[in-house]
C-alpha cells in the first residue's frame, strides 16, 4: 500500500487494465451512438460532471474505509450549499461564504462521527436521521426555493467556469483532492490507521490506534467533501438549490464499490477510475436524452454487480467482521 502507485500498477496492472478496457469500450459505444459525444464541449462537460460527482464518492470512501456507511452526505451538503448561496445573496464575500458552508458540513460530519464512533449508534439509521435534520435546516433560508441573487456578480460562478492553463477549475480541484486523498490514505501513517480501524477495530485499539478519532475524521471528511461538491454543483447551475446533492448518493457508492470490486479493496485510485467510468456512462445517457430513471436503473445495476464481485474480500471481511466483532469489542474495551 505504501509502495508508490506507479510501481503498484506495474506489479499488479490487471485492475487498471480492466478499467481502461471498460472506459475504451464505453467511449466506443457512445461515440457510435451519438456523434456529439467526442466533441470538446461534451468532454469538458463530462469532466466537469465527473469533478462534482467524484467529490461525493471521495468523501464517502473515507467512511467506507473505516468500516461504516454515511447515508446523510447528500442531504448535509444541501445545507452547506444553501448556507453559501444565502450568504452570497446577503453580500458576504465569496470566500467567507464558502468557508461558512463547509463549516456547516463539518459540524454535521462531526456529529455523525461522535454518534457512530463514540456512542456507537448504528451508522445507517443514525445518518438517515442526521441527513433529515440537515435537509430540514437547508430549507429555512429560502423555504426551499432557489437562491440566485448575486450569483453572477459575486464571482462564485468562476468555480465552475474558470480555466487554468486551459483546464477547467473543477477538474483541477478534483485532481488536487484525489492527489491529497491518495497521499493521506496510501502514503501516510494516517491511512494505515483509517484502514486498520475499518478492517479490525478491536485489533486497531490494541495497537494504540485512536479509532474514535479516525471514525470522526472520516465522517467529517465525507461531509466536507460533499459540501465542496454541492458548492461546485450550485456554481455550475448558477443558483443555490436544496436538491443539489440528491442525485449523488447512489453514484457515490456505486463508484466506491466498483473500484473496490476491481482493486479488491476500497482505494483512492480505484474510486477515481470508477468515477470516470460512471460519469462517462451518465454523460452518454444524458446526451442520448435517456430519461433519468434509466440511469438510476443502470447505476443501481452497477452497484449490485460490484458488490457481488467484491463480496469475497471487501464486503464480507470488512463489513462482516466489523458487525460480528463490533458488539463484543464494546464489552471488551468498555472503559
Amino acid at each position: 500500500m505504501t509502495r508508490k502507485p506507479l510501481k503498484m500498477i506495474s506489479e499488479d496492472s490487471r485492475p487498471v487494465l480492466i478499467f481502461l478496457m471498460l472506459l475504451v469500450a464505453i467511449f466506443v459505444v457512445f461515440s457510435f451512438l451519438h456523434r456529439e459525444f467526442l466533441s470538446t464541449r461534451n468532454i469538458s462537460n463530462l469532466l466537469k460532471h465527473a469533478s462534482v460527482s467524484s467529490m461525493f464518492a471521495l468523501g464517502a470512501l473515507f467512511v467506507v474505509v473505516v468500516g461504516h456507511f454515511d447515508l446523510s452526505f447528500h442531504l448535509v451538503c444541501s445545507l452547506s450549499g444553501m448556507t453559501t448561496s444565502f450568504l452570497i445573496a446577503n453580500n458576504v464575500p465569496v470566500l467567507p461564504s464558502i468557508a461558512a458552508g463547509l463549516a456547516a458540513g463539518a459540524v454535521f460530519g462531526f456529529c455523525n462521527g461522535i454518534a457512530i464512533g463514540k456512542m456507537r449508534l448504528p451508522d445507517m439509521v443514525t445518518t438517515i436521521a442526521t441527513g433529515a435534520i440537515a435537509w430540514g435546516f437547508a430549507w429555512i433560508y429560502s423555504d426551499g426555493s432557489y437562491i440566485w441573487k448575486n450569483a453572477t456578480t459575486s464571482g462564485i460562478l468562476l468555480l465552475n467556469d474558470a480555466l487554468i492553463f486551459g483546464i477547467p477549475l473543477p477538474v483541477i480541484l478534483m485532481l488536487a483532492m484525489y492527489f491529497l486523498a491518495n497521499v493521506v490514505l496510501h502514503w501516510s501513517r494516517f491511512g494505515r490507521c483509517f484502514y486498520s480501524t475499518g478492517e479490525n477495530r478491536v485489533a486497531a485499539i490494541f495497537s494504540g490506534v485512536r479509532v474514535r478519532a479516525y471514525i470522526i475524521a472520516a465522517f467529517m471528511i465525507c461531509a466536507v467533501l460533499a459540501s465542496v461538491g454541492a458548492i461546485m454543483g450550485n456554481a455550475s447551475q448558477g443558483s443555490g438549490s436544496v436538491r443539489v446533492g440528491m442525485v449523488y448518493l447512489l453514484p457515490a457508492y456505486a463508484t466506491i464499490f466498483l473500484g473496490s470490486a476491481i482493486f479488491k479493496k476500497p482505494t483512492v485510485y480505484g474510486t477515481f477510475l470508477a468515477a470516470l467510468f460512471i460519469s462517462t456512462m451518465l454523460n452518454g445517457f444524458t446526451l442520448m436524452a435517456v430519461p433519468y430513471y434509466y440511469s438510476d436503473f443502470m447505476i443501481g445495476l452497477v452497484l449490485i454487480v460490484a458488490l457481488a464481485l467484491s463480496s469475497s474480500m471487501v464486503v464480507r471481511t470488512r463489513f462482516g467482521t466489523r458487525r460480528a466483532g463490533g458488539g463484543e469489542s464494546r464489552k471488551e474495551v468498555a472503559q
Binding site: 500500500m1 497521499v183 490494541f206 471488551e332
Partner: protein, 501 residues
C-alpha cells in the same frame, strides 16, 4: 447389563497438529453425579463436545443404556436425551421464563399456524418448576433474572424434553456462593429422579460437595476414576493426578539476573473483578499470574494496558505514578499487551506483515506530514522478524496465512517495534500447537532480559514453567504471591482453583 446409563469407550479425536483425545473411557451410572476433571488442554471440552454433537469423534463407541448410538449433530444428542448447559447459557432476554422453557416445543402439533396457549404453557412450566427447590418468577423476562435463575431455566428447558444425561460445563463459574447452593440443591433433586449428571469444573472444593465419582484426564488420556467419598480423594491428590509427574522440558531456564523495577502496582482493584493486586515487575524476572477464567486475570491484563480504569490503587512506571487512559496511552508509555485472541485483538488479517508490525508506532518511520518512509519501515520490520524468528521472513506476507505460533511472533514484533519496556502476555500459547510453544517461551525469556515481562494465563503449568515470581488469583483475590522455587506446582494449582492449599 453394565449398570451404566452412558458409556464412552476409546474415544479419539485429532485436530491438525494436536491429538486431543487418545482413547478416553468415561462412564456414568443412572442418578450419578460424575465430575470430569483436567487442566486446560487436557481434553475435557473436546470430550463433551463429542457427546453434545459439536465435534465428531474419530474413533470409539458411545453406549446409551447399553445400546450403541451415533451422535453426529447437536440435534442427535438432544434426541437421545443428552442435554448440555454451558457456562453462560444462551438465553433470549425478552422472553418470559415459560416461553423460554418451551421455545420450539410450544404445542403438541408444531404446525406453522398452531396457536400458542400461554396459560397452558405457564401451568406446565410451573408444574416442572414445582418439582425442584427453586423459586423463579416464570412470567418475568429472562433477561431480568439473575445468573443462577437463567442457568436453572436452561436446565428446566432441557428437562421439558426427554433428558437422561445432563452435562453441566463449569456451572458455577459466574455464580455467587448462595446461588451455588441453589444450584446444588437442584442437582440433588435431579439425581433423585435418576438423571445422570456430568459435572465439569476446575473448582475442586465444590466438586467434593456435589460429586459421587470423578474421572481425571490428562493429555487426552484417562488418568484415574476415583470415588469422591473415599478418604484418600483429597484435593492434593487430585491436583497431582491432574498435573502428572513432571513438568516437560519445553520451558527455558529460569531468570537469574534480577534488575531494576519497571512497572509496579499497589492495591490495584477493578470493581468486582479483582481486588488489591500488588506486584513489582522487573527486568530479568518473569512475573507469572495464574488464575482461571472468571478469576479476574483477563481484566487485570486489560487494566494494565489502559483498557479499563482501575477503581482503586496505583500504577508506577520507573517509580513515577501513572494513569493510563487508553491503550494508546499505554503504548506511548512503553507498555504492550500481547492479547489472547490473536485474530480478533492482535492482527489486521487482510494486511501484510509490515503493516501489522509497524502499526503501533508509525511515528517511528514517518517523515514530514506523516508520510511513511517505506524503505526504512521494511528494513526495521525485517530486522525484528528475523530476531524473533518468523517464518517465512517475508515482510510482504499476509498475516492470515501464518501459523498460530508465527502470528504470535508477529504480534511480539509489533511490541518490539514500539520499543516497549513492559510486555504483558495474556494466554500466549492458546491455540498454538505444542511444537511452537517452546519457541514462544524462549522468546518470552529472551524479552525478559531487556524488559519487564508479565505472563498472565489460565494454564498453570505454563505460569509455573515460565514464571520466576508467581501470583495466583482466585475470584479476584490474590491467594498467593511467592518466588517460584518456594511453591510446588500442585500448591499453585490449588491456590488458583480453590483459593487455599
Amino acid at each position: 447389563m453394565t449398570g451404566y446409563r452412558l458409556e464412552m469407550k476409546g474415544i479419539a479425536k485429532e485436530f491438525p497438529g494436536v491429538r486431543a483425545l487418545q482413547g478416553v473411557d468415561f462412564a456414568v451410572k443412572p442418578g450419578e453425579v460424575h465430575a470430569l476433571l483436567g487442566v486446560n488442554g487436557a481434553g475435557k471440552s473436546t470430550l463433551i463436545k463429542i457427546l453434545s454433537g459439536t465435534f465428531r469423534k474419530d474413533a470409539g463407541t458411545i453406549l446409551l443404556d447399553d445400546r450403541p448410538i451415533e451422535i453426529n449433530s447437536p440435534q442427535d444428542a438432544m434426541d437421545h436425551g443428552i442435554a448440555t448447559v454451558y457456562q453462560e447459557p444462551q438465553v433470549l432476554p425478552s422472553f418470559t421464563g415459560y416461553e423460554y422453557i418451551f421455545l420450539g416445543t410450544e404445542t403438541e402439533r408444531n404446525g406453522t399456524f398452531s396457536v400458542v396457549h400461554r396459560k397452558q404453557l405457564r401451568e406446565r412450566a410451573q408444574r416442572i418448576l414445582e418439582l425442584f427447590p427453586a423459586d423463579i418468577d416464570l412470567t418475568k423476562p429472562v433477561g431480568q433474572l439473575g445468573a443462577v435463575d437463567q442457568e436453572i431455566l436452561a436446565i428446566l428447558r432441557a428437562l421439558s424434553r426427554k433428558m437422561s444425561v445432563l452435562v453441566l460445563d463449569e456451572p458455577t463459574s459466574i455464580l455467587t456462593e448462595t446461588e451455588k447452593h441453589v444450584l446444588f440443591r437442584l442437582i440433588a433433586a435431579l439425581k433423585q429422579r435418576g438423571i445422570s449428571i456430568i459435572y465439569i469444573s476446575h473448582r475442586l472444593e465444590e466438586v467434593r460437595q456435589v460429586v459421587d465419582r470423578l474421572t481425571i484426564i490428562r493429555d487426552g488420556k484417562n488418568v484415574a476414576t476415583l470415588d469422591a467419598r473415599d478418604q484418600t480423594t483429597n484435593p492434593m491428590r487430585i491436583a497431582e493426578l491432574m498435573l502428572g509427574e513432571k513438568i516437560e522440558s519445553i520451558y527455558p531456564a529460569k531468570g537469574d539476573d534480577i534488575q531494576e523495577e519497571v512497572l509496579a502496582a499497589n492495591g490495584l482493584s477493578l470493581g468486582g473483578k479483582f481486588q488489591e493486586v500488588t506486584f513489582s515487575a522487573r527486568k530479568g524476572q518473569i512475573l507469572g499470574i495464574f488464575g482461571l477464567v472468571g478469576s479476574g486475570v483477563q481484566e487485570l491484563a486489560k487494566t494494565l494496558f489502559g483498557l479499563f480504569k482501575p477503581t482503586h490503587g496505583t500504577l508506577k512506571l520507573h517509580g513515577k505514578g501513572i494513569e493510563l487512559r487508553s491503550a494508546h496511552d499505554a503504548i506511548k508509555r512503553g507498555i504492550f499487551l500481547v492479547p489472547a485472541d490473536r485474530r480478533r485483538e492482535g492482527l489486521i488479517a487482510l494486511e501484510p506483515m509490515f503493516f501489522n508490525v509497524s502499526l503501533a508506532n508509525l511515528g517511528e518511520v514517518s517523515a514530514f506530514a506523516g508520510l511513511i518512509r517505506g524503505r526504512k519501515e521494511k528494513k526495521r520490520v525485517s530486522a525484528l522478524i528475523d530476531r524473533v524468528g518468523v517464518t517465512p521472513p517475508d515482510v510482504h506476507a499476509k498475516v492470515s496465512a501464518l501459523s498460530g505460533g508465527n502470528q504470535q511472533k508477529v504480534i511480539v514484533s509489533k511490541g518490539l517495534f514500539t520499543e516497549a519496556e513492559v510486555y504483558i502476555f495474556l494466554e500466549p500459547t492458546a491455540g498454538v500447537d505444542v511444537g511452537a510453544k517452546s519457541g514462544i517461551y524462549r522468546l518470552i525469556r529472551q524479552l525478559s532480559r531487556t524488559a519487564a515481562v508479565i505472563l498472565i494465563s489460565s494454564d498453570c503449568e505454563e505460569v509455573y514453567g515460565v514464571g520466576d515470581r508467581i501470583i495466583t488469583l482466585f475470584k479476584g483475590q490474590v491467594t498467593g504471591d511467592t518466588d517460584v522455587e518456594k511453591v510446588s506446582l500442585q500448591e499453585m494449582l490449588l491456590l488458583g482453583v480453590q483459593g487455599r492449599i
